[in-house]
């Protein structure tokens, strides 16, 4: 039988380091959705739900908590992916030069990249599963289809993480990384349909939201959680997100190669 692919040995390393921080990490993953769903879903939501029937219908006929939760699942996946794709990449290339150490062994650049993206996928799986459990505990779930919000959330995270990995690998200092978080990730978080339907955006700029991978992830996760999913739009969302993963991974490969093989 063939041994596990070399990229899995890269994942092993990250797991070994993670062993030291998993409790903290798990607590964060648990507390984060609880706080958001309490504060915004229930706190803010109690006001929203007292609003006009017009408001409720634009939320898809459900209460705000139920509307918010799946969107937040996708948005949380994005944030986890973004943070795993910025400073850690810079550290492995430049600060601790772990990649350099790996490349002195039989591993090749492709193994490092697949290992890195697999690791991010693993972190995303953890995050979305825990998020889903919290959602269920809050009763913010309408359909059993919601279990597919886990792979959908992982896909959403990778669609944003892979291109950010590529970008991070081209940077020689970390200033640009905080810019990405501030001016790409946060605006997507706020305006891609997580907190309110993008039909509320002025029609002139609404198309921008449609172009963001996060909106596709949010819409997909939400349709799964509410049980309103239809095959056509699901396929479009998945294809759009997959294209971001593939494109991002390709660019990241090029960037890694340029940066690490001199």
């Amino acid at each position: 039988m063939r041994a596990a692919p070399p990229s899995m040995r890269v994942v092993e390393t990250y797991l070994l380091a993670y062993k030291r921080t998993w409790k903290f990490s798990l607590t964060t993953m648990l507390i984060n959705p609880i706080m958001f769903l309490l504060g915004m879903g229930i706190g803010l939501g109690s006001l929203v739900d007292k609003g006009t029937s017009d408001a409720t219908s634009s939320l898809g006929g459900v209460d705000y908590l139920t509307f918010l939760a799946p969107g937040l699942l996708a948005a949380t996946a994005m944030q986890v992916a973004a943070s795993e794709s910025t400073y850690p990449i810079m550290a492995k290339i430049k600060w601790d030069r772990i990649y350099e150490a790996m490349l002195a062994t039989p591993l090749v650049v492709r193994d490092l990249l697949i290992g890195q993206l697999s690791w991010i996928a693993l972190r995303l799986t953890q995050t979305t599963v825990i998020f889903l459990v919290v959602m269920v505990l809050f009763g913010a779930v309408e359909s059993p289809w919601v279990v597919f919000a886990v792979p959908a959330g992982v896909l959403t995270g990778l669609a944003i993480g892979a291109p950010i990995c590529a970008f991070s690998a081209t940077r020689t200092n970390d200033y640009a990384l905080s810019t990405v978080l501030r001016f790409v990730v946060i605006p997507m978080f706020l305006f891609s349909g997580t907190f309110f339907p993008i039909s509320q955006l002025p029609s002139g700029i609404r198309w921008i939201a449609y172009l963001t991978p996060l909106w596709h992830g949010v819409d997909l996760c939400r349709s799964l959680a509410l049980g309103t999913v239809d095959a056509g739009s699901a396929v479009v969302h998945v294809a759009y997100l997959a294209a971001f993963v593939a494109g991002g991974a390709y660019l990241a490969y090029k960037a890694f190669q340029r940066r690490l093989v001199l």
Binding site: R9, T13, L16, A17, R20, E100, A104, L107, V261
Partner: protein, 314 residues
């Protein structure tokens, strides 16, 4: 030794090996052979092309031109296979700071696809070898520079390499740490591990290398054993004269012809001679009274400075 065809015991063979970065040529057509079991050194000032050469040998940097064979294989096509049989100690330690001492060895062994059952006993041996057994459960970050270096060497041995590549193994270490390291490297050599190292420390080269090449400005300018290099490029002995401040200028003309070669430094004059005692007598016979006279044997440092520059008066 470097003939057109490499001998069967040759582990590394380079002919016209060249590395370019854009317009800049870091390594310019060098030839060398490294035989099994020898300790081979690249000596040269910073920027001479030593590290670039090492990175090509280590199959992490593509060859721009010329021929390179490592363990009989071509790095361009067999990089991973070759790397599987090399041990690499890079110029700057790149240990995983988030892991412990033993975890660093464990994961590195895994990168070579060794099963844990093979790695575990080897970790014990290697930690013992580099005297880090009592730190095995500690994180790497707080270790001293010498300990990190030793751990890097242990890590480079996890796959039982045929060739160990060491890029400036002791740069930045204190004298104690350097001597411990030299001792360990010497033992490896005794065990038959082929060592290839770069250094700009002459004492290191003299201690460790059977044979070395001196690199300067991307090229090899000399090759041989430390002894051969001294014989070829320097005299047997050196007399160093130090004159009172301000007097050196007037004294130098009076030293003319006193030794086969004379070198004037800002603070002293070096006389390269085959017989230091006689030369010192000659100095006094000319009525010169240096403040300080040192007689010593020629060292690799003299060769190095002669070959790689320092203004010379001959």
């Amino acid at each position: 030794m470097p003939s057109d065809a490499a001998a069967p015991s040759t582990l590394i063979e380079a002919r016209g090996l060249t590395k370019r970065f854009g317009q800049f040529t870091a390594v310019d057509g060098v030839d060398f052979d490294v035989a099994k079991g020898e300790a081979f050194g690249f000596l040269g000032p910073n920027g001479a092309g030593k590290s670039s050469t090492m990175r090509m040998i280590g199959c992490v940097s593509p060859v721009s031109d010329g021929k390179l064979r490592v363990l009989g294989l071509d790095p361009a096509t067999d990089g991973p296979t070759i790397r599987g049989r090399l041990g690499v100690v890079p110029q700057d330690d790149n240990l995983d700071m988030e892991l412990t001492v033993e975890e660093n060895l464990l994961i590195y062994g895994r990168f070579f696809d060794l099963p844990r059952s093979v790695i575990r006993p080897r970790i014990d041996e290697l930690l013992d070898f580099v005297q880090l057994t009592d730190r095995r459960k500690d994180r790497v970050e707080p270790l001293s520079g010498g300990m990190k270096r030793r751990l890097t060497i242990a890590r480079s041995l996890i796959n039982n390499p045929d060739v160990l590549l060491l890029d400036e193994p002791t740069t930045g270490l204190d004298p104690q740490a350097r001597h411990v390291l030299w001792d360990r490297l010497y033992r490896l050599k005794q065990q038959g591990v082929t060592l290839v190292l770069t250094t700009h420390y002459m004492d290191e080269a003299e201690q460790l290398c059977d044979r070395l090449v001196v690199m300067d400005k991307a090229q090899i300018v000399a090759e041989g054993s430390p002894r051969q290099l001294i014989e070829q490029h320097s005299t047997r002995e050196v007399v160093e004269l130090r004159f009172p401040v301000g007097e050196q200028e007037t004294m130098v003309p009076r030293l003319e012809g006193i030794a086969p070669r004379l070198e004037v430094l800002p603070d002293r004059v070096l006389l390269y001679t085959n017989d230091a005692d006689t030369t010192v007598l000659d100095v006094h016979a000319r009525g010169l009274t240096p403040e300080n006279v040192v007689e010593r044997r020629s060292t690799l440092e003299d060769v190095f400075l002669r070959l790689t520059g320092r203004s010379l008066v001959e």
